[in-house]
Amino acid sequence: MKRSSKIIWIIVIVIIIAIAVSTWIIYANQNLKQSSSIASIKIGAILPLTGQMSRYGELEKSGLQTALEKINNNGGINGKKLEVIFEDSTSQAKGAISSWSKILLEKDINLIIATISNTCQALSPIANNDKIVLMSSDCAVASYSSPNDYTFRILSSNKKEGEQMAELLINKGIKTISIMKINNDYGEGLVKYFSEAYENMGGIIKNTESYNSDEKDFKGLLSKIKNSSPQAIYLISYAPDAEIILKQIKELNINFPLFAAEPFANNTLIKNAAQYAEGTIYLRSTISENGKTFMEEYKQKNGVNPEIGTARTYDALNVITVALKICEQKNNLTSNCIKDELYKIKDYNGTIGKIGFDINGDVDIPYVVQTVKDGQFVPYNN
């Protein structure tokens, strides 16, 4: 009995393996046929589709899909279809790196789009090493890019945000501040540039409290801030953390004015925590006049207004298309050609404003001051 059941098991396993292998062979063949029959150009996209940043990932994916559909409806890349291979970074650097390797298993990948500072930052040296163009729609860490390398982004670096925030605070007469920040590349970078600028202008930083990304209890840090009695709090957090921090600020009856960094501007935050966010002042890039048609089209199709993350990936893919078209025409679809052509783009009319890459592959998109009023993100007027 035992022997016979063993044999049955072996047969079952052999059958399963046989089915799996044959399915794989058929599938691989089909893919091969497809890719040879329809000429297409593939690029990769590494987004935080799960994990803590997933709410940003969904917005970004939607921007890419909207742009992709439009590009392909308008003839693709000189008649060739553009394809985007989506991979999930799980909101973590290590997830982004394995997604990177996975995308590169595909043939002829010359360009990958990635979002969220901590993942882009990890991918930046790999991109230069592999000589693959890396386009980020929202990597703010200043050290992400260097002159003439393979990294590009369409968000101003956080050096600009830090300096602008310092100026805003000083202009408002706020001379002492406490910082609450997430412990990652983005938080570290922004605090560094902000502190330099703020202290140069005569501001005093009472304390800088950092927390790790899985933290849920901020009461200890907030009590510390409360005790140091600053004139205001500068919150450098992603929206999911910011929601909890705002609630705990309210619970602890802390009444200092709140200032926040760019990731704060997220519609889900308003949905979940509008009443505690009221009055918070923050810097963000916004959809410009150029983006009006995009906004209307997007709203018509999806029923909601696009968020800034959506607009940025939409622009990222459109800018890339400009370079891809030129390289395709030259019959030189290589990462070097794409890189060179991207550096040549100086005044592309994007939805977020004029996109032009400097020697670092960076853009100069202004940050505007906004606030939360009656549960809405609105421009801030002194």
Binding site: L49, T50, G51, Q52, S54, R55, G57, E58, N183, E209, S210, Y211, N212, D214, E215, K216, D217, K219, G220, L221, S223, K224, K226, N227, P240, E243, I244, K247, K250, E251, L252, N253, T268, N272, Q275, Y276
Partner: protein
């Protein structure tokens, strides 16, 4: 300020205790580390989200349903997975790995059904806390602390006064001897999972209300709960609760003096100190 730190520590400690007590109860009888207990808590929080926020069932009924469902779920895990493994003479290391696998599996399932984004259960309107001795605390946080203490008392009474509690202690002490006198260890294991998971359900409800819901919240919780249980003495339920409060105090007072980024480091340094110098914890039973 000192009072605020004490209150903050009590709240943190009570949350860890809600995790650690059920976990420790299961460990004490079953003698293996059930890491998936973390996701059982997550399942509790999401079940409340499903019944209350999505289906719109009355809040109090939702709470009852959640506790019943989660204890059933714990029983189900034990019956369908752990018991089958024990039948195959699986060692506690195998069970430990299985519990890790279950932790990841359930997290993925929650992710699949509910999506990755943070969810909130909007039952309690956030308001300014009440001031007690110059420290601020919200009513929900008081409920959390009181619940943790009530669970401690109830568990103590259960273990000392009831038949099943005595059977649990017998199995925890020596399974073979307990079986000789006619106690079914499998039955005791089932009860441990039912009671332990019911506590996880209550924990899930309170933690879900206090913090937001994320599919991966269980991992962070079980790490802290596990640390609390080790400090207090693994296998001792009162010890686990005591250890959790101690951990809450150490973390909150620690970050007062140290840079705040070291909060988790404080927890693990204490864990190492206890593992090295007091592996039986504060109330753990020393075995020769």
């Amino acid at each position: 300020m000192f009072n605020q730190l004490v209150i903050n520590s009590l709240i943190a400690g009570a949350i860890y205790a809600l995790v650690a007590s059920g976990f420790s109860l299961i460990y004490s009888t079953c003698k293996f580390i059930h890491f998936a207990h973390g996701t059982v808590i997550t399942i509790g929080a999401y079940f409340l989200f499903l019944t209350f926020s999505i289906l719109g069932i009355n809040f109090w009924l939702s709470i009852v349903l959640t506790v019943v469902f989660v204890s059933f779920f714990g029983w189900l895990i034990n019956t369908t997975i752990y018991r089958q493994l024990r039948k195959r003479k699986a060692s506690s290391v195998i069970l430990l790995f299985t519990s890790f696998a279950l932790l990841i599996l359930f997290e993925s399932l929650i992710l699949m059904f509910f999506g990755a984004d943070v969810k909130t259960i909007d039952f309690i309107k956030i308001q300014e806390g009440i001031e007690i001795f110059g420290a601020i605390i919200t009513p929900l946080q008081i409920v959390i602390i009181v619940t943790a203490l009530v669970i401690l008392t109830l568990l103590y009474l259960l273990m000392k006064k009831t038949k099943i509690g005595k059977a649990m202690r017998a199995v925890a002490d020596n399974k073979d001897v307990a079986e000789v006198v006619g106690i079914s260890s499998e039955k005791v294991y089932s009860w441990s999972f039912i009671i332990g998971s019911a506590i996880a359900g209550i924990g899930g409800i309170l933690i879900g209300l206090e913090q937001n819901l994320e599919p991966t919240m269980g991992t962070a919780l079980i790490i802290k709960g596990f640390t609390g249980a080790i400090i207090g003495g693994i296998g001792s339920v009162p010890g686990a609760i005591l250890g959790s409060f101690l951990l809450g105090f150490a973390e909150n007072f620690g970050i007062w003096f140290l840079p705040s980024g070291y909060k988790d480091a404080i927890a693990f340094i204490i864990l190492f100190i206890f593992l090295l110098f007091m592996p039986h914890g504060i109330l753990g039973i020393k075995r020769k």
